[in-house]
């Protein structure tokens, strides 16, 4: 994407929200397992996860949620512009979940001669439960 954010257009408190997924499918979790190499059966093997590990169903890799949330960020700030991105996984993500991610401007500043923006990042499920909470920093024009 060719978006480039400009400091003059950024105000503290501005936010950007994107729907990441609607009705998350087990197949997408399998896709992520295959691409990332994390084949933990807790994410893909319903029988193991319910009968052995004792969870109600398989659940998404935290890193799938972080990866999907990363799309919201790069769609907003542009390609190759992130300087930092960090998250805590605050609740599990289950098949069937619908997720929305929001980035809110915390500050606009200069570092190493570059203009930068810092965001608070939050991803919530269809019940309003926060599943991921973090921050991101990006270079802006």
């Amino acid at each position: 994407m060719t978006t480039t954010l400009k400091t003059k257009d950024l105000k503290v408190g501005d936010s950007f929200t994107q729907r990441l997924v609607e009705d998350l499918k087990r197949t997408q979790i399998v896709q992520y397992a295959g691409a990332s190499g994390d084949y933990n059966p807790l994410h893909t093997d319903e029988i193991f996860t319910t009968k052995v590990a004792g969870y109600p169903s398989v659940f998404a890799h935290g890193m799938l949620t972080m990866g999907m949330t990363g799309k919201m960020l790069t769609d907003h700030v542009g390609d190759g512009r992130l300087t930092k991105y960090g998250v805590r996984f605050t609740s599990q993500v289950w098949p069937g979940d619908t997720l929305d991610a929001t980035a809110t401007v915390q500050k606009v500043f200069e570092q190493d001669g570059e203009k930068r923006v810092e965001f608070e990042v939050s991803t919530k499920n269809q019940n309003g439960v926060e599943v991921l909470k973090g921050y991101a920093e990006a270079r802006v024009d």
Partner: protein, 165 residues
């Protein structure tokens, strides 16, 4: 984790981007990428996580000829002691992940990864008993020896499976 060689390949980037629902052409269209400000296909922000594919000791990938704890004829291929939920033999759940980006990661780069253990701490959890946290810092360098990404991960083990949120 130590990874001697993590070739960052175009088709791997394409599949990874698909799996996180990202259809940005910068991840799958070399012609588009060439004409963009980036100049070539780059990897999405969390792609270095896929270095697990190139870690010979990675515990969450079935090893050829070795027992695997996922289901087959039985619900698990490895009988183990009850308790220790979360990891299912796989080393706990992922609590936090942090990245610092020093330069774009490009298709064609070949990374090496070196990891150092960080802090460890404990916390009393609400839903899964005592929580045991441990931190790991990984530096990813390219074929020129330049630092591309610094990753800091925090894993957590629980005494029993967390109750659903």
């Amino acid at each position: 984790m130590a990874v001697k060689s993590f070739p960052v390949e175009f088709s791997h980037i394409m599949m990874f981007a698909r799996s996180v629902g990202d259809d940005n052409p910068i991840y799958h269209d070399p012609d588009y990428a060439k004409s963009s400000a980036m100049g070539s296909v780059i990897a999405p922000p969390t792609f270095v996580q896929a270095s697990a594919q190139f870690d010979p000791d990675y515990g969450l990938r079935p090893k050829i000829g070795k027992p695997w704890f996922g289901s087959g004829k039985e619900p698990t291929g490895i009988k183990r002691e009850p308790g220790g939920g979360g990891g299912g033999g796989g080393g706990g759940l992922h609590a936090e992940q942090h990245y610092e980006y020093h330069q774009p990661l490009r298709a064609g780069d070949v990374l090496t990864a070196t990891s150092m253990p960080g802090k460890t701490w404990e916390k009393e959890g609400k839903r899964g008993g005592k929580l045991m946290f441990s931190e790991n810092v990984t530096e990813y360098r390219n074929q020129k020896g330049e630092l591309v990404v610094t990753a800091r991960g925090v894993g957590v083990r629980t005494e029993r499976p967390a109750d659903p949120a």
